[in-house]
């Protein structure tokens, strides 16, 4: 585990380094509580299943290149939405049971959830336009549902 951790830490540091740079580029005022990293199954329950706002769950792996490309695109769109939608990031190596429960096989997998239920699923690397459309559609569906209720 020791050596594995080293590489893990290394990968994650460079990875997070990139994304923090990105936050700075987009908006200095946006605090990233719209973006959460899931730490456990209980954490997932609290932040995703019981979330009042719709959630996009990003199942990713540190060793997955498409995931690394997807991350900045995804995070920028989430930031654009200013609290209307939350991004929950799940590292499939750390939260393997969660990933297997949601039938994740190849990564990245995006799952749109509201009220603890899976609404949509998007597998593989997506371009920013498609991603934005997908997220906007999903969050709008949500608000329509609210209006109806």
């Amino acid at each position: 585990m020791f050596a594995r951790n080293i590489t893990n830490v290394f990968v994650r540091n460079s990875f997070l380094g990139q994304s923090s740079k990105l936050y700075r580029n987009i908006s200095i005022t946006t605090v990233n509580h719209d973006i959460v990293k899931i730490q456990s199954t209980d954490d997932f329950k609290e932040k995703v299943i019981n979330s009042k706002v719709p959630v996009v769950v990003d199942f990713f792996a540190t060793w997955c290149n498409p995931c690394r490309l997807l991350t900045p695109r995804l995070e920028s769109i989430i930031s654009e939405n200013k609290g209307k939608v939350i991004l929950a990031k799940v590292d499939i190596d750390e939260q393997t049971d969660l990933a297997l429960d949601y039938e994740v096989s190849s990564v990245p997998v995006l799952i749109a959830m509201k009220d603890g239920k899976v609404q949509h699923r998007l597998v593989g690397l997506q371009d920013t336009d498609k991603l934005r459309k997908w997220i906007e559609q999903f969050t709008n569906e949500e608000s329509k549902a609210k209006v109806k209720a």
Partner: protein, 529 residues
């Protein structure tokens, strides 16, 4: 069974099991075919088969495959059915099959078993190396064996190619400054491994094989105690249990070995560049490590206790080491390590002794890598509890074929020249041989002195081929197809009548025509050299 799994580089145990499954499958196929002939249809399982009566109904309901498959006595034989079922289990077990070890052999076995409708669990656990290295699911080959080795070998070849590219007209800015970034290399290699770990995990889930990340040991012949990561213990029972635990590197019993030395378990994820390295041992693991380290730009020295690549054809082994020496790897022959001590600088002072002359030597290294063999991990299994007695025996039956990924690769299938002569006698063996020049070696003026191949055959017509040996580029790719040919009973006449694909290195086999016995010059014609 996935053919991808087959690789002789994975450790002996896994290979043995793999071979055994294959053999049993073959037997099963053969006798099924025979039965089919007798009855004219797929035979139903005999109703009075004692081993069949033990499958509980509970399990049968969870089986996806037709029931008759599970009860097929031949399938049970494949699964290694336990000889006698203990009466106290009353025919109910948690699993039809438990496999201890999630490596090439264990996974292949588990997958085969679920295909036949069995309920299967796989236990996999990695005890950290003395340095503390751990890894994921998939066993030696994927994590610390053939896969990372091949990737690092590829990294080494690419480095060489950059320099060769200059001869082919590529304008490479300051080729002398080209160097490897060790952490980028290990990160890329480890990322690939982690992706394979994940795919393996998903595969187990898809096939409904239960994965238990625990260290298994026997309580009795049908009960395993699994010690999980958090130290808790879990008991499970299985009608059949397959041991596929593989092996781990052996450390010589000298001062400093465990404290300061690394092994192949550590090198592929080493958190710092290895620097000047001493490799203890000249088996295939030692030579491959020394080979890629040297090509990556780290000085490599090898201690050879007896002979390099013991068990392999020695003429070929010497070509492999000659090539390595010409590239700058240092060899100390007939030398055994005495001690390794840590200096204040953090470097390691290694001492060794020449067993012929008694002379002692020492030198300072950044890294000392032990490659002095591997031992089977069967001790921790508490085998006596299961009534298993250990019997160390060598594999037989299948034709050995492998490739050693040294800078100049060595691929072989079948018998070495020594073994053929020992078995048949010198008069009954004919050896065809040749040195050759790979086309792509001319322009960069690469060393061709060690590009050599030979065919070991029966002397009497039709001269059945017993072994093929090849030192040169892409040896594994060259040998694989010929392995199939040998399996089909290849003769020298057939080989010589085969039309070569030009220009390739593999075609050299079809051009063999000089026997060692003739004493003719095996060197190719040359224009200038």
């Amino acid at each position: 069974m996935s053919k991808r799994i087959r690789n002789i580089e994975s450790d002996e145990e896994e290979n043995y099991i793999y071979w055994k499954i294959k053999k049993l499958k073959k037997q099963a196929r053969r006798s099924r075919r025979a039965r089919k002939g007798r009855h004219g249809c797929r035979a139903a399982p005999p109703a009075d088969d004692a081993t069949d009566a033990d499958c509980s109904n509970k399990k049968a309901s969870q089986q996806t495959a037709p029931k008759d498959k599970l009860e097929d006595p031949e399938i049970l034989e494949i699964l290694g059915a336990a000889p006698a079922i203990d009466i106290k289990y009353n025919g109910t077990f948690d699993y039809d099959l438990a496999v201890i070890g999630g490596g090439s052999g264990g996974l292949a076995c588990a997958k085969e078993a679920v295909n036949h409708g069995a309920k299967v669990a796989v236990l996999d656990y990695v005890t950290p190396s003395p340095l503390g290295t751990k890894w994921g699911l998939g066993g030696t080959c994927v994590n610390v064996g053939c896969i990372p080795k091949k990737l690092m070998h590829q990294a080494a070849l690419l480095g060489e190619s950059i320099h060769e590219a200059v001869s082919y007209g590529w304008e490479v800015p300051s080729p002398k400054d080209i160097k490897i970034n060790w952490s980028s290399l290990t990160e890329a290699v480890q990322n690939h491994i982690k992706s394979v770990n994940w795919v393996t995990r998903v595969d187990l889930r898809d096939k409904k094989i239960e994965y238990i990340n625990g260290l298994g040991e026997f309580k009795d012949a049908h009960t395993i105690i699994a010690t999980l990561k958090n130290g808790s213990k879990k008991e499970l029972t299985a009608k059949n249990i397959v041991i596929a635990v593989g092996g781990r590197p052996h450390y010589p019993d000298i001062p400093g070995a465990l404290e300061y030395c690394i092994s192949s378990d550590d090198i592929f994820s080493l958190g710092y560049p290895p620097g000047k390295t001493l490799v203890v041992g000249a088996g295939y693991i030692g030579l491959e490590c020394a080979g890629f380290l040297n090509s990556l730009g780290y000085s490599a020295t090898v201690l050879v206790r007896s002979v390099p690549l013991r068990g392999f054809d020695q003429q070929m082994a010497h070509l492999v080491t000659a090539e390595m020496e010409e590239r700058g790897v240092r060899f100390h022959h007939k030398c055994v390590p005495l001690s390794v001590e840590k200096l204040e600088s953090g470097q390691l002072k290694a001492r060794w002794q020449n067993t012929d002359t008694g002379e002692q030597c020492e030198d300072v290294f950044d890294t000392v890598l032990m490659a002095t063999g591997r031992y089977a991990l069967t001790k921790a299994l508490n085998l006596p509890a299961a009534g298993v007695t250990q019997n160390l025996c060598s594999r037989s039956g299948d034709i050995p074929r492998t490739t050693v990924f040294t800078p100049l690769e060595y691929g072989c299938v079948g018998l070495s020249e020594e073994t053929a002569i020992a078995r048949l006698g010198e008069d009954a063996v004919e050896v065809y041989h040749a040195y050759y020049k790979p086309t792509e070696f001319f322009i960069p003026q690469r060393n061709i002195r060690n590009c050599y191949l030979k065919a070991v055959a029966e002397r009497a017509p039709p001269q059945r081929v017993l072994g093929l040996h090849f030192v040169g580029p892409v040896a594994g790719e060259v040998i694989q197809g010929f392995a199939a040919a040998i399996k089909c009973g290849l003769t020298m006449e057939q080989l010589m009548n085969t039309v070569g694909i030009h220009p390739t290195v593999a075609e050299e086999f079809t051009r063999l025509n000089i026997t060692k016995r003739s004493g003719k010059d095996p060197n190719p014609a040359s224009c200038c050299s």
